[in-house]
Each structure stands twice: as C-alpha cells, then as structure tokens.
C-alpha cells in the first residue's frame, strides 16, 4: 500500500508516494535520484548509504522512510553552497582520500558530522567515529589526513 510521505531533504520538502516497507535508501535513490546514497550491504554494516539525519550520520538502508517524516535529511548533493565544494570535500580531494569513490559520500558526511560534534578530534577519536564506514580500497590513512586538513580549514 502506497502512502504519501513528506520528507525534508537537502533543505527542500519532498512529497513521495512510498510503500510502508520502503527504506530511506530506497526513497532517496529510487524516488529522488540522489545517487550519492549507495547500498553496500543493506544491513547497516558498511556506511556507504550514510546520510545525515538532523546532522547525525545514520544508515539509510536501515531506516524506514516513513519514520523520518519532517526530519532534516542531508546527502552530499546538499553540501556546499552555490556550486562550491564543502571544506570537507575539499579536504578529501586535497588529501586524495578516495580511490573508487563508492564509499566517499558516506565518509564525507560522517566527517562533517564528526567535526560539528568535536571540532578538533584526536586521531583515535576520529577513528572511533569513522569505524562504521568501510573503504575496501583502503584509503583510511588518507581519510584520517583529510580529517586533519578539514579540521585546520575550520580553525
């Protein structure tokens, strides 16, 4: 049974017709074509589907879309103003914190949330926060450097 669901995504209200079982991942990809949100595992274990929910990283594959009505949802499509990149995105480019890039949107959002919660995390604190995002290309050293760079950019 399809129902009308109002979602607030990247600062806009979106009216979608969704089935009860539709996850936030399905809503964002299949209905809003936000392709940066990707399925890597479907069970909340890899972080490639990370979005920000009221500023905090969550796995979109593991949340029913109907449960997040009215809450602020952010994907990387909603980052950066007027076509400019967000400082975290700049830091990822500068530090080469990506290879295939499949995990990158999830990492960028998680790092953004991290720095908002804790503007100068230690390496260990950053690693703790990023543990749920997996990168099989193994860009972790570069990603940690990107955290440092983004943190300095903010200072």
């Amino acid at each position: 049974m399809k129902q009308e669901v109002l979602l607030r995504v990247n600062g806009r209200d979106e009216k979608l017709f969704l089935e009860d079982a539709d996850t936030l991942l399905e809503a964002l990809r299949d209905h809003l074509q936000l392709w940066s949100v990707r399925e890597g595992c479907g069970v909340g274990a890899c972080g490639t589907c990370t979005v920000l929910l009221d500023g905090r990283p969550v796995s979109a594959c593991f949340i029913l879309a109907s449960r997040v009505k009215g809450r602020e949802i952010t994907t990387v499509e909603g980052l950066g103003k007027e076509g400019a990149l967000h400082p975290v995105q700049e830091a990822f480019i500068e530090q080469r914190a990506l290879q295939c890039g499949y995990c990158t949107p999830g990492f960028v959002l998680t790092v953004k949330a991290l720095l908002e919660e804790n503007p100068s995390p230690t390496r260990a604190a950053a690693a703790e926060y990023l543990e749920g995002n997996l990168c099989r290309c193994g860009c972790y050293p570069d990603i940690l450097r990107a955290v440092e760079a983004a943190k300095e950019a903010k200072d």
């Binding site: 399925e39 890597g40 080469r96 890039g101 990023l130 995002n133 997996l134 972790y140 940690l144």
Partner: protein, 781 residues
C-alpha cells in the same frame, strides 16, 4: 632519457571532484523508462539434482514479467547455455544439477526488486541431494565425488590454449615445473624442512556489488552497461552465448565501485542479456551483498613445501599447491599457472619441482583476487624461509639476501629476470623497521617482535592493449581505451602519459570510458598490467600523432624533424619556444580549417614463450616482475592472543613511478586488505553452507585496524620497455603482508602459525602447546 614534465608528478585524480560530490556514474544510477529488475532463486544444497520446478504461481503474480529456468535456456536455439573464461563449465542458470549453495536456479524479472523477490517465494524446486566434496585435498584424490563429469576448454585466451578437455577428475588443471634434480638434492641435504600452509577462501568485497543493465536499442542491438573489469571479454562472451556477431553487442563500463578481481570475465552479463532479449525491455540485476558471497571468492589454498638445505644454503625445493576453485573454474587455471611457477620463490634454487593444481569442489566459484594466487604461495614460502633461517640460526634477512635473484639470473622457469628490485626492496624494508636495531621492549603480558618477508609476482603475458588517441585542433585530446577506472587511477596515469608524449597539459587530456563500439580491445583491467600495457599503447598512439604534427611543423618552420620539441601545447625548435607554433596553428597549416582531428592508434602485445607442459620452462614466461617486501612490528597480548600491528612498511618495486603519490596509495590500500586477510577474514563453511555470508558476520578492516605507523616505500627500478620506465603496482602491496606478520608473531612469541587467518585462538593454542602450564585455562579447539 630527457627529463619528463608530467610523468613523475603526483597530479590529482581526474575524477576526484565527481567522486566527492557523488556525481560519478555507476551502473546503479542509470535510469531508463520501463526498467525491470531481477531476483534469482538460488540453490540451498551444495550438490543436488533438480527434479522439478513449479513456477506458475510466480508467473501469475502481478508485476512479474518473466520467470526463467536453466532448462528453458538450454532449449533456446542459438544460445550457448554454458560460459566461462577457461572452461565452459558454468550454466547461465542451473540446468539439471546445482553445484554449490547459492548456485542460480530460477530468475524472476519484475517491475521492481521487491516484487521480484516476493515472487521467488512462490517458486518450488524439488531437489535430490547428491554426494558432496568440500575439502580441496579430498577433491583432488581419485575416487572422490565428481563436481563435473567432463570439462571443455573455452578457447578464448592465448595464454590458456594449453587447457585440455578432461573427465573423471576434479583436477581441471595441473601445472608442472621441473628444474634440476630435486630428489638428488633431498638425498644430499643435511637438513630437510617440510611444512604445510593454508589460506582460506575469502571475499573481495568491492563496496559496489556486481550490477549489470541490458537493453535493446531501436536497431535491436544488445546494449550492456556493466560493472566489469573486462569489457572486451564480456563482448566476446556474449557473442558466443547469444550467437550474435560482435558488432551487435555494445558493452559500456562507467566507473566501478571497486573490483579487486571480482568483476572479471562474465558474471551477470549472460543472464541479464538473455532476460532483456526475452522481455524486450531494459533489465537491471544488482546483486545483494549476500549474493556477492555466493558469486565469486578468493581461492582457498593448501601449499606443501619440502626444502633441502646443505651448508646453510637451499639446494632444492618441492612445492605442491592445491587451489580450491569451487564449483566453476572461472579463471582458476590461469591463477594456478601464473602463481604456480613462482611458488618456489624469487630465489636461487638449483633444483625445483612444482605441482600446482586447480581443483573443483562444491563451494562458490573462486576467481581472480588482487595478487592472483601469489599471496597464497608467498604465505607458504616466506613463512618457511623464516622457519629455516631460525632453525639454522641465520638472520632471516641475510638468508633471503643470500638467495635473492639478481639482474639477469634465471628464475625457476629459466626466464632471466630483469628490472628486479628484490634486494633493494628487502634492504629498504629492513632499514625502515630498524631490523638491526635493538629488540622492541616487552612487558609482562604483551610481547613484541619484528618480521620481514619478500616475494615477487610476474605480469600476465601474453596480453593485448589497444588504444586510439585523438587530438583536436584546439590541442585537446581524447584517449580511447578499454581500461576500466575502478579506483586505481588509470584515467589519471594514462592522461599523464598522453600529455607527456604530446606536449600538452594534463587537463587537456580526456579519457573516453570503455565502450566496445568505440574503444579497442584490451585483455583485462587486472593483474597490475594497465600502466605498462595500456600505458605503452597510449604512448605509441600519441607518438604517431606527434609524428604527423612534427611533419607539418617542420615544413612550416623550415626546421629539421629531430630538432622539434612538443611542450606546453606548442611545437618549436629546441631552445626557441617563443618562435614555435601552437597546436591550433599546426592544425590550420595541415587542414586549413578548425575542428579537425588527428588520430593515432596502436596495439601493444608483448609475447611470451609458453611454459613447457612437462617442465614448466620458458625463456620468457613474463614481460616483467614486480618484487615486494613487507616489514612489520607486532605486539601480542599473551593473555588474549590479540595481535596489534604497531608498525607496518610496504615496499614495492614499481619501476619509474608515473604518479608517485598514487603508487603509495596502491601499496597501502592493498596492504590494508591483506592485513584483513591475514588477521581475520575467512569464509567459514559447514557442510557447504556459508556461516558468515553477510557484512554483519564477515569483518573487513576498518579505520581502527590501521597500524599506528603505516608507510610505504617505492623502489623505482626502471623497466627498459615500460612507458617511461614504469611497471605495475596494483597488487604489489598484497603480496608479502601475511608472512611478514606471521614472522613477527613468531619473533614475539615463539609461536609459528601456518594457517590463515591468524586469530587470537590460534595464538593462544600455540602458546599453550609451546608452554603447557598446569592451571592455564583450557583453550577451545
């Protein structure tokens, strides 16, 4: 060689901005009106006969467009129901038997994924279970249950033309190498070492699972968008499968969310192409992570080594390696061949006997994985190198240095080695870990140790790369190549090579993504071959353009060809850049109009001399070697068995680094994956059922698994025929990780682990066996 301007610079990736914004194209983002989705019913048995399939209820379900079985495919005229790169042994859907848990049996096409999945519940399949063989050593014995009654060579690749048809055995390929007289070496030895080392099956785990989309265009041409590392092969495969000419099939590949060998050869493409042809609608099949585990794996392997030593020197080595290729051979035979001939190590050993076997079992198929079987054999020979040197009380680094092959010496195959920075890599690794420095400090419950390992892999030879380079009248360049950008940075490296050769700036070079209607044949994007092979093709094609540009410029400038230089988008007489011509001027002089193009094309196809089927010998078995060394310092908790990698160094001989920063990234990225394979990754089976087939149960390294100190070192021994001296680097970082860690663990604890992964339980068991103390807690077996 004159100094290069762009080659050797760590320029930024071409695709970085598209990747941080999530805009990069993947097969999963392609939209198409009326696109249908697929779900597949898979076998619950490791081996069974299919008695019957009832699918009418599924067919009647609303939203379901097609339900297809293997028997129906087998009855289609012109369709070849079997595929595979080495042997045609894999049915598109199971026909009469299923050979592993997860073998595809029935495909449902529906308007959306949920509908397709729901329809699977309405299908009933009756099976009659058959005898199962799961252990690779059991499977290799005569008289064990047969996975295949017979096998037929696929006949596609030149390097596999020695595959023979066979029957009544699970061994589908046996590589032999015979050098000297190994039995005499054993008779005359003063010490003989015999050890067995095992590696488990594991998962590639690209974050993007396999995905394929097929549609027919208005001309009924079969258009395929697929996440593959081998677009040219996929086209050939589909041409055979569907009985269509190659130009009626168009395979395009956007960017891959990782590959690591998982996305090679035909995977989903034959099935999805048939479904699109049957429904006459666009069809996409995206694997779930759970299906990924059932689709392709890294080979589990058992390696037995017997080594003769006389007067502190290795005089003979016998290697028997059994690769578990699962229910379908996939590229297993090539892995057994290429890793097989390196399994005695990059050492001077006069008498060598190698037998390497590709063995069918009732497990999911195993295929190429970053390192191509070589990490499994290096795990064995580098663990044993330490066992021997410790036993003989010789420093392990010195022991390796003493045996390491040097420039021009013959490898075990008889092929002389060139551009072989093995000793340099070992030296660099030893220095970086402070090998001759003081022993690391221990405390009461935590002990530290250091370990080192070296090894080598040879590039797949022969193989072919074709490239077309097109320069436009504004000096901008399109490079047409079938190399797949899967994260390794090939777009960037190939653009650097073209820009360097053509004398234009890096930003002016654009890589056209693989498209079999447009980009020429390339064997595969794998095996650390693209920088060298496609790099050479792109460079040669660029040279042909340059020759034409110079011809025009020489006339216009009244200069000698030899005096001309192309740099910064201008052609000029060496030393007088100002007086030269822009590319635009050259095009105007040649064509009289703008918008024109000059094209250069080249095919690079290095040859090999096939290894002799009885002796494995060849004067040239490979085009180049890439040596690797790793050094580790570990801390082992004696109470919990936990291993912490405190320091890790990955060293690789990359030849001249085209993009040094990206070479470092390849070494470290590969090392992280292999750290996972060393310490915890393993697909665990019980009676053919996978017990940890999801990312909840199968762990891969996270950022928390990074060693505290984690660095890489490039040893740049230029290769004389590499583009600007470059070799490959994609796999180098995987090769020597596991034995370096195991050697460090023995250094710390005295416990020698021979079976990967090195879990805390195995270490505790080893500690208990070494030092059985009354009252020590029982260690679970």
């Amino acid at each position: 060689m004159s100094k290069t301007k762009i080659v050797g610079q760590s320029v930024h990736r071409k695709d970085a901005a598209r990747k941080v914004t999530g805009r990069i194209l993947h097969v999963g983002n392609i939209e198409m009106p009326g696109l249908l989705q697929v779900a597949v019913l898979r076998s619950p048995y490791p081996h069974a006969r299919i008695i019957g399939i009832q699918k009418s209820r599924a067919e009647a379900m609303e939203g379901v467009v097609l339900v297809l079985t293997g028997a129906e495919i087998a009855a289609m005229p012109d369709v070849d129901p079997y595929f595979g790169p080495a042997f045609k042994d894999q049915p598109i859907l199971a026909i009469d038997r299923v050979l592993h848990v997860g073998d595809p049996v029935v495909a449902v096409v529906a308007v959306d994924r949920r509908r397709a999945e729901d329809a699977l519940e309405l299908i009933e399949v009756d099976y009659e279970p058959l005898p199962v063989v799961l252990d690779v050593l059991e499977a290799a014995k005569s008289g064990s249950p047969l996975v295949h009654q017979e096998f037929k060579p696929a006949g596609v690749f030149a390097d596999l033309d020695h595959m023979e048809a066979g029957e009544k055995s699970n061994v589908c390929y046996h590589f032999k190498l015979r050098t000297g007289d190994v039995e005499a070496a054993f008779r005359e030895a003063d010490r003989i070492f015999e050890d067995t080392f095992t590696s488990p099956p594991a998962q590639h785990m690209p974050m993007e699972p396999h995905v394929t989309l097929v549609y027919l265009d208005e001309d009924e041409k079969v258009n395929v968008w697929t996440a593959t590392q081998s677009p040219s092969f996929v086209r050939t495969q589909l041409s055979t499968t569907l009985g269509l000419p190659m130009n009626r099939i168009r395979v395009r590949v956007p960017y891959l969310g990782g590959g690591y060998g998982a996305k090679l050869y035909g995977k989903l493409e034959p099935l999805v192409a048939l479904l699109a042809l049957e429904t006459r609608r666009p069809v996409r099949y995206a694997l779930s992570r759970e299906e990924e585990f059932q689709t392709i794996t890294k080979h589990g392997a058992v390696a037995r080594l017997k080594t003769a030593v006389k007067d502190g020197v290795i005089t003979g080595r016998r290697c028997e390696v059994f690769f578990d290729t699962g229910a379908y051979a996939d590229i297993g035979p090539r892995i057994v061949h290429k890793s097989g001939y390196t399994s005695a190590g990059p050492y001077r050993i006069p008498n060598v006997r190698i037998d390497s076997f590709c063995v069918y079992t009732n497990k999911p198929p195993a295929g190429a994985f970053r390192g191509f079987g070589v990490p499994q054999v290096i795990w064995a020979y580098e663990s044993q190198m330490d066992i021997i040197s410790r036993e003989l009380d010789i420093d392990p680094v010195q022991f390796r240095m003493h045996h390491a092959l040097e420039e021009g010496e013959p490898f075990a195959t008889g092929t002389p080695v060139h551009s072989f920075g093995l000793k340099e890599s070992l030296e660099q690794a030893a220095e970086a870990i402070e090998w001759s420095g003081p022993r690391p400090q221990n405390n009461a419950t935590k002990v530290r140790g250091k370990g080192i390992a070296s090894g080598v892999k040879a590039v797949l030879t022969p193989s072919i790369s074709g490239a077309v380079v097109m320069m436009n009248s504004d000096g901008s360049v399109n490079v047409l190549s079938s190399t797949v950008e899967m994260g390794q940075g090939s777009d960037t490296v190939l653009a650097q090579i073209a820009a360097e050769e053509l004398g234009v700036c890096f930003d002016q070079v654009h890589l056209v993504q693989p498209d079999t209607d447009v980009t020429p044949y390339d064997t595969i994007t794998a095996g650390s071959r693209s920088t060298y092979h496609m790099g050479n093709a792109v460079r040669m094609a660029s040279m042909k353009i340059k020759a034409q540009l110079f011809g025009v410029a020489a006339r216009a400038l009244e200069a000698n060809l030899e005096d001309l230089v192309a740099r910064d988008g201008r052609i000029f007489v060496s030393g007088s850049q100002e007086s030269g011509m822009s590319m635009r001027d050259v095009f105007l002089a040649k064509f009289g109009s703008l918008g024109t193009t000059i094209i250069g094309e080249a095919i690079f196809e290095p040859r090999a001399i096939p290894t002799d089927p009885e002796t494995g010998r060849s004067e040239k078995c490979t085009e180049y070697w890439f040596p690797s060394a790793s050094a580790a310092e570990v801390e082992v908790d004696l109470e919990t068995g936990q291993v912490k990698v405190v320091k890790f160094l990955s060293v690789g001989d990359t030849g001249t680094a085209i993009n040094p920063r990206h070479c470092h990234q390849q070494l470290l990225g590969a090392a992280i994956t292999q750290l996972g394979m060393t310490l915890f990754e393993e697909m665990v089976f019980e009676e053919g059922q996978l017990l940890n087939g999801s990312l909840l149960d199968y762990q891969i390294p996270s950022v928390k698994d990074l060693p505290e100190h984690f660095e890489s070192i490039l040893v740049e021994v230029p290769h004389e025929t590499g583009p600007f001296g470059a070799k490959g680097v994609g796999e180098t970082g995987t090769l020597t990780v596991s034995p370096a860690i195991a050697n460090a663990i023995e250094d710390a604890t005295g416990v020698r682990i021979r079976d990967l992964p090195i879990t805390p339980e195995k270490i505790l068991r080893g500690l208990a066996e070494k030092d059985p103390k009354p009252g020590r807690a029982e260690v679970p077996q």
